[in-house]
Chain length 345, copies 2
DNA sequence: TTGTAGGCGTTATCAC
DNA sequence: GTGATAACGCCTACAA
């Protein structure tokens, strides 16, 4: 019971394959007139056989695959899923499907994945987390894809310096807001949980942190910057380390909400109550942030919308490859909830 | 600058396309002998041109797409991502890629998605969450796919009654364990937050709940069963409703950890302390469960492993379509942490 | 209004 | 050892 092809339909309907193609594709572009009677005959044949055109063949003949690649840097962070949700919605609405890959930063698989995506002739690629930036190998691969004119949109937190469109949600301004908010609350030792998977990520949070301290004439204490990995456990350990410092911080900024959850746990384990003894701020505003106890103060952006914009831009670029390079900015904003308060002592 | 094809390589190397195919595919199956010198010439041409075979053409000619479809029922639940993580790893390790779709239950898009998957001639399909079960339309579509002999593996929490392989992690036994554990703690009013997106889901939790009550001769109070949707907010509202009952429950079982997070929040808002005033149990053991305050008592399974098994089975079936139908069981087990304790009053 | 035929980039079967 | 050449299933001029 082989899958029916256009030929089968043509035979059954007593027409040529061209005719089948015409009616199946809704009279293509211009106006290829098909008489209602043959149209009906073809349609009948189509669903008598349960014919579904072979996308591979269509793609070979027509050029595009209606497929876009999606590369996720850390499948464990809900925030990326929120982006993915937007990407998926918008892609589907536009008739595209997603080819999903999870690439850890500097992954040994990076090359395989890029090559495979290229072999599959995807129409475009969405990159999340700007993990490319400091992997030289990944950069090279990306450059190759760009040379082949593969439309690419990167979702990231800072300006990218190579030639792709990008959707930025820069936390810079909001981070300063966070800092001045905490400073205003009389916090003087503010710790930073810098849990990143690649060096360059989240500089839109680290740099303003440093700048803000400088702006108010406070020294930067490197001890207060805990560099760690991206998992909850990493956040937990980092917070533990910070909070055990002789002069412990009275406020903690975690680079993202996931790490903040770990930090919250660490505070609990040290019998520090948030926000009375310790203020805690996260980033991303993942869904559950406002259900935590205490509800997490965090810097938000509309991740679903980011995903949607990325796809829209990608499709625009697919349609018009020579468009000038685009940068789309998505606003971010501080949401003060319950995990922050006046400094103790 | 069009993408180089086999013909270009052949021309540059001064050989036929057949030869190119042979060397690129590593001397195909049997032993097609190629002299080392031509081999080298071809290889040189390949990377001089940066030639990458077109997967669509290969697929058309050879039959398989090395692509498997993955359908996720609720992109917002971290638990599904944990499955996806396993699926992605195993698929990649076996040379397959994932075509991702997020289908809400009874989605209006279900038909589109299934048809598209079919048109793309994916080699196999992994379904999560047994969302098919009560959508008649989805059932029909699935039946069609089965008729076309598409290998399918379903990841679910109960036996499925149509002809596909499946990976079950049945929470039945563990749910009874939960019940007797709570009952042993002297809880007499145990609420159930039954937040499902389709009626049939999570019966492996609802039914044992009912049975256990009956087993100890306690009446089932329908008031204690809050049926709601699958989001955190749903869990929150359901818990609120339950906890505001005149005779409020002293323990709450949430069908999954996400709902439990909402419930935890609700308890907090009512000034009920967990576990002193209220015991709370979740299911799935999502990563963050053990970082919540209090750490969540939950029923766990190894979701990543579930995903891996599903892919393994799928690939086995692709290789041997006539294998007898398989059922793979993944163990589940209760993890007692801090959110449960003796009943108050 | 409908049919013919060449092309899309591979693989695979035969020859040479 | 290597090269023609016919599929694979569809699209789309160009004819008729």
């Amino acid at each position: 019971m082989k899958k029916p092809t256009q030929v089968d339909v043509a035979r059954l309907a007593g027409v040529s394959t061209a005719t089948v193609s015409y009616v199946v594709n809704g009279l293509t572009d211009g106006r290829v007139q098909i008489s209602e009677s043959t149209r009906q005959r073809v349609l009948d044949a189509v669903d008598e056989l349960g014919y579904l055109p072979d996308a591979r063949a269509q793609s070979l003949a027509s050029g595009d695959t209606k497929t876009i690649g999606l590369i996720v840097p850390d499948i464990r962070n809900p925030h990326f899923w929120e982006h993915a949700e937007g990407v998926e919605q918008e892609a589907r609405a536009s008739g595209y499907r997603l080819l999903l890959s999870d690439i850890a930063l500097n992954s040994e698989y990076a090359e395989d994945i890029f090559k495979d995506l290229s072999r599959r002739r995807i129409d475009g690629l969405i990159l999340m987390g700007s993990f490319i930036d400091h992997s030289e190998e990944a950069q090279n691969l990306l450059t190759i894809l760009r040379k082949r004119r593969l439309p690419i949109v990167e979702i990231c937190d800072h300006n990218v310096d190579y030639d792709v469109d990008f959707v930025v949600s820069d936390y810079r301004a909001a981070t300063k807001e966070v800092m001045f908010y905490l400073l205003g609350l009389q916090h003087r030792r503010i710790g930073m949980i810098y849990g990143v998977a690649a060096s360059v990520i989240a500089e839109d949070r680290l740099q303003p942190y440093l700048d803000s301290l400088q702006a108010v004439g406070m020294p930067v204490d490197q001890e207060l910057i805990a560099r760690c990995g991206p998992t909850i456990e990493d956040g937990y350990q980092a917070a533990l380390q910070l909070l055990k410092l002789p002069a412990r911080p009275t406020a903690l900024i975690a680079i993202n909400d996931l790490l903040a959850i770990g930090a919250l746990r660490a505070a609990g384990d040290l019998n520090l109550s948030v926000p009375t003894d310790l203020s805690l701020v996260g980033f991303d505003d993942i869904h559950m942030a406002k259900y935590l106890t205490p509800r997490l103060t965090t810097v938000a952006k509309d991740a679903v919308s980011v995903g949607q914009h990325a796809v829209k831009q990608l499709i625009a670029r697919i349609g018009e490859p020579d468009l000038p390079r685009q940068k789309i900015s998505i606003p971010t904003y501080l949401i003060i909830r319950e995990s922050t308060g006046p400094a103790p002592f």
